[in-house]
Amino acid sequence: MITSRVSSFLILSIVSIFATNNVEGSQPVLQKTVESLFTERSDVTYPGSCKVLVSSKKQTKMCKREPGISKILVTAKQQAIAACEETFQYDRWNCSLIYNKKSKRSIFKKIYRETAFIYALVAASLTHAVARGCSSGDLIRCSCLGSFQNDTHLRGGCGDDFKYGKRFTNNFLEWKQAGNDQIAEILKQDVNIGIDAVGEQLKEVCKCHGFSGSCTTKTCWKRLGPFNSAMGLLKKHYHHAIKRKLVNYTTKRAITPKVRRKMEIDRQKLVYLQKTPNLCVSTKGRICKDRHNCATLCCGRGFIVGKKSVSSRCRCRMVDCCLVKCDTCVEEVDFYTCK
């Protein structure tokens, strides 16, 4: 009797959760946040405490609790965009938001290889920025994870800011609430790969400080790696991403265990659903790095070799005291443009 009541209550509550989800909007917060962080290129300030984006209820609460976070979000966003544009400068997809300059073909419309990459990138950037914010003291709510003593001065292990960054990113992107249909599962995996890319850059460093400075006592901590190393790893992930077939396209039903098992196999890879359209149409006039790069970038159409003069600092030396003086050298360099 009681169990049936409990179960009926559970069913009711689950139904109501689904209902509210539907009311809030068709797009889960995860998608909305990543999309708006990456798409919005102007410095618009939105109402609400997060400022950079139209925030959900939970996000607003998080931003209110931590006043420094809106600055971190800006940093994360700029860092992600800058890193993406720089890394993909000489690739067919040059980190543009739309394919082939057609405004209708947004990369966020479906889950392309690029979309999957951006989810990972934004998550990585956010994790990295939050971890940095914790270390510099700009964020004041970073917690000491992995400590089992709650007293102010008694705790151990307060140094691992990456763990907090990871938790914050998952919370902020509402990872858990993203749902468990196939699309959500894929995006969640992509986000995880992004966070792990930052985690893999952590380096353990140790310092001995025991008896007479010997190693009888040794303290180790994890050092956060630079973001561009994580970015290098993410680019590798981008190239090795795997394509999945959508099992049940229309429904938002949870995926079956069979599909889940299939997904378990490639937990370590970026996953996408849609093949990227042919980008060769839009590479006309693009600048490539060298002949080798031009061969792929220009899709076999050939390229024009031009000469241009580049001025740079050279022959730097110290003058008198304390002043670095450099000459400006003008160099003639080849530059290649796709036909």
């Binding site: 609790r65 940095r132 914790c134 270390s135 510099s136 003291g137 700009d138 004041i140 709510r141 970073c142 917690s143 000491c144 400590s147 089992f148 003593q149 007293d151 102010t152 001065h153 008694l154 705790r155 151990g156 292990g157 307060c158 140094g159 800011d161 460093v205 310092k207 400080h209 008896f211 007479s212 400075g213 190693c215 009888t216 006592t217 040794k218 303290t219 180790c220 901590w221 050092r223 956060l224 790696g225 630079p226 561009n228 190393s229 600092r313 050279c314 730097c316 110290m318 008198d320 005291c321 304390c322």
Partner: protein
């Protein structure tokens, strides 16, 4: 004729005592593992870049920090600044950094603060960093207490230091970071104040200064401090052990004084060992809660050094006293062991000199490091190698002595069958117990070494199941500490002179025993109350 307690203790009592001590040992280990957090804690602090626009940079009343009233406007080094010269850049590190929405302050329970500098240098083909180039740092440390205003920073210490920057890079791509080694920055022996602030500048007073250190992107300072919780557990252990050892020491000394003879060397050694342990056990850490005592790190080293020196000397004398090297008529004294003990002395003195050169000077200048200059490095290495060599020599000596003792004992074993049965049983018991204690020493030493190696190999935390987490490093420290305390406690108890009389001596009548009794009482002469084991061996030389 009396002996030491261990010779007169029945096997059952000995077993009870050993079990009890083992239980104490286990408790020490578990207290460290379950109650105490890890011994030390590291916190990474990312430097905030501030702009110092003043012309004179040596004003020590002007401080730069990134939180609280009067904070500086942070500068992003990634952007190009035309109005900013290298001289105007200050890296500010305000510690501790806030956590969980609270601005934490350091507690005096945290004892000490060690700062390590890590520099993120990005690769530029125009400005390559040479391996082992020198970085000059103008470091200033300020402190503030809770009751002070938020901008009321006061100078703690200031120094211009040179450090070696050891960087290499795998992939030479622009913007990629060099792999730079850690730079030890400062060591504070006392954490007396609530907040600390470190300002780092990279001066360029001479043309060559800081010219080859590349493009600095970020500066990180990692501060390591002892955990307050660990200190509390540690000090409580000391508070428990201190009176126990003092008590047993008084008991031991009184027992010796009740005898008619003067104390023998072994007993004096035991006493000094106990005193050294008391010196180590004294919970002086309580004083740091009230007073600023920067010499605590140094004192801690000295206390440990004295203890280990006494323990090592004791082992030598212990082995030597059960040998037949000395003249039976002479009272053995420490002088006879000068050759063996000089190894201990040289090792200790060289370590002490090294420690004084490093931590002693750090009392005056916390930023000082002996390892920076080539001369200092050579000097430090000389002392450390000297200490290492003398430790090696010491252990060779010790092994040799122990080997000789065992050879002697096995020789005497052969003559045992000629003795009467009661006496023989008794001697066999003594040998057994001597070996037993020898084994205990070896076991303690082995456990320490194994524990240390395990700690180096394994992760810091061990998990037994979901709920029980064992903090291994702390458990190792409290375990080893407890072990040596218990070891010395048991030595003091078991090697104290016994007041029991041997029943054997009174009610014997057979001829053989009588003759032996005569011989026995004649030999030790006035020192009839000497430890029976020693007298047994001495007697055997005459046999």
């Amino acid at each position: 004729m009396t002996g030491t307690i261990i010779e007169n203790l029945s096997g059952r009592k000995l077993a009870v005592l050993v079990t009890f001590l083992l239980l104490c040992q286990l408790t020490c280990f578990l207290i460290g593992g379950l109650v105490a957090p890890m011994p030390a804690n590291a916190q990474n602090i990312l430097g905030t870049v501030c702009k110092d626009t003043s012309v004179m940079k040596n004003d020590t009343t002007k401080w730069f920090y990134n939180r609280g009233k009067g904070k500086c406007q942070p500068v992003d080094l990634g952007e190009v600044h035309h109005d900013l010269s290298e001289k105007d850049i200050v890296f500010a590190f305000q510690m501790p950094i806030p956590r969980e929405g609270e601005t934490y302050d350091y507690s005096r329970w945290q004892q000490n603060l060690i700062g390590v500098l890590q520099v993120d240098i990005s690769y530029h083909s125009q400005m390559e960093v040479k391996p082992r180039s020198t970085i000059t740092i103008d470091a200033r440390l300020a402190y503030r207490n809770k009751e002070d205003p938020e901008d009321g920073w006061k100078l703690y210490t200031q120094s211009v230091e040179k450090r070696v920057l050891d960087c290499d890079i795998d992939i030479k791509t622009d913007e990629y970071l060099y792999n730079c080694s850690l730079i030890p920055l400062f060591e504070l022996g006392s954490l007396f104040h609530d907040y600390y602030l470190l300002n780092i500048r990279l001066p360029i007073d001479t043309p060559d200064m800081n010219a080859h250190i590349g493009h600095i992107q970020d500066m990180w300072v990692t501060v390591i401090n002892q955990n307050g919780g660990f200190t509390k557990v540690w000090v409580s252990l000391k508070t428990v052990f201190f009176p126990c050892i003092i008590g047993i020491l008084i008991w031991f000394w009184r027992r010796i004084h009740m005898l008619e003879r003067k104390p023998v060397l072994l007993e004096k050694m035991l006493l000094s060992l106990g005193i050294a342990l008391c010196f180590l056990n004294a919970p002086l850490e309580y004083l740091t809660l009230q007073f600023d005592l920067p010499f605590m790190l140094l004192l801690g080293d000295i206390r440990q050094g004295v203890f280990y020196a006494t323990l090592f000397s004791f082992w030598l004398v212990f082995a030597g006293e059960h040998m037949l090297i000395q003249d039976t008529s002479a009272q053995s004294s420490l002088k006879q062991y000068w050759r063996h003990l000089s190894a201990v002395a040289i090792g200790c003195i060289s370590l002490f000199i090294f420690d004084m050169c490093e931590r002693g000077v750090q009392l005056r200048n916390p930023f000082y490091s002996i390892w920076v200059t080539d001369l200092g490095t050579n000097l430090a290495l000389t002392f450390i190698i000297l200490a290492g060599i003398s430790t090696g020599v010491y252990f060779l000596f010790l092994c040799y002595l122990v080997y000789k003792v065992f050879i002697n004992i096995s020789h005497k074993r052969q003559s045992l069958p000629t003795m009467c049965s009661v006496r023989r049983l008794h001697y066999e018991g003594i040998i057994y117990r001597f070996k037993f204690l020898m084994l205990a020493t070896l076991l303690c030493a082995a456990l320490t070494v194994i524990g240390f190696i395990l700690g180096q190999v394994a992760e810091g935390q061990w998990k037994w199941d979901e709920h029980i987490e064992l903090e291994y490093t702390s458990a190792f420290f409290t375990g080893v500490y407890g072990m040596w305390n218990i070891y010395i406690f048991s030595l003091l108890v078991l090697y104290a002179p016994s007041h029991k009389r041997w029943p054997v001596n009174e009610n014997t009548s057979d001829m053989q025993n009588l003759s032996e009794e005569i011989e026995f009482s004649r030999l030790p002469g006035e020192r009839s109350e000497i430890s029976s084991l020693t007298s047994f061996i001495r007697k055997a030389t005459v046999d």
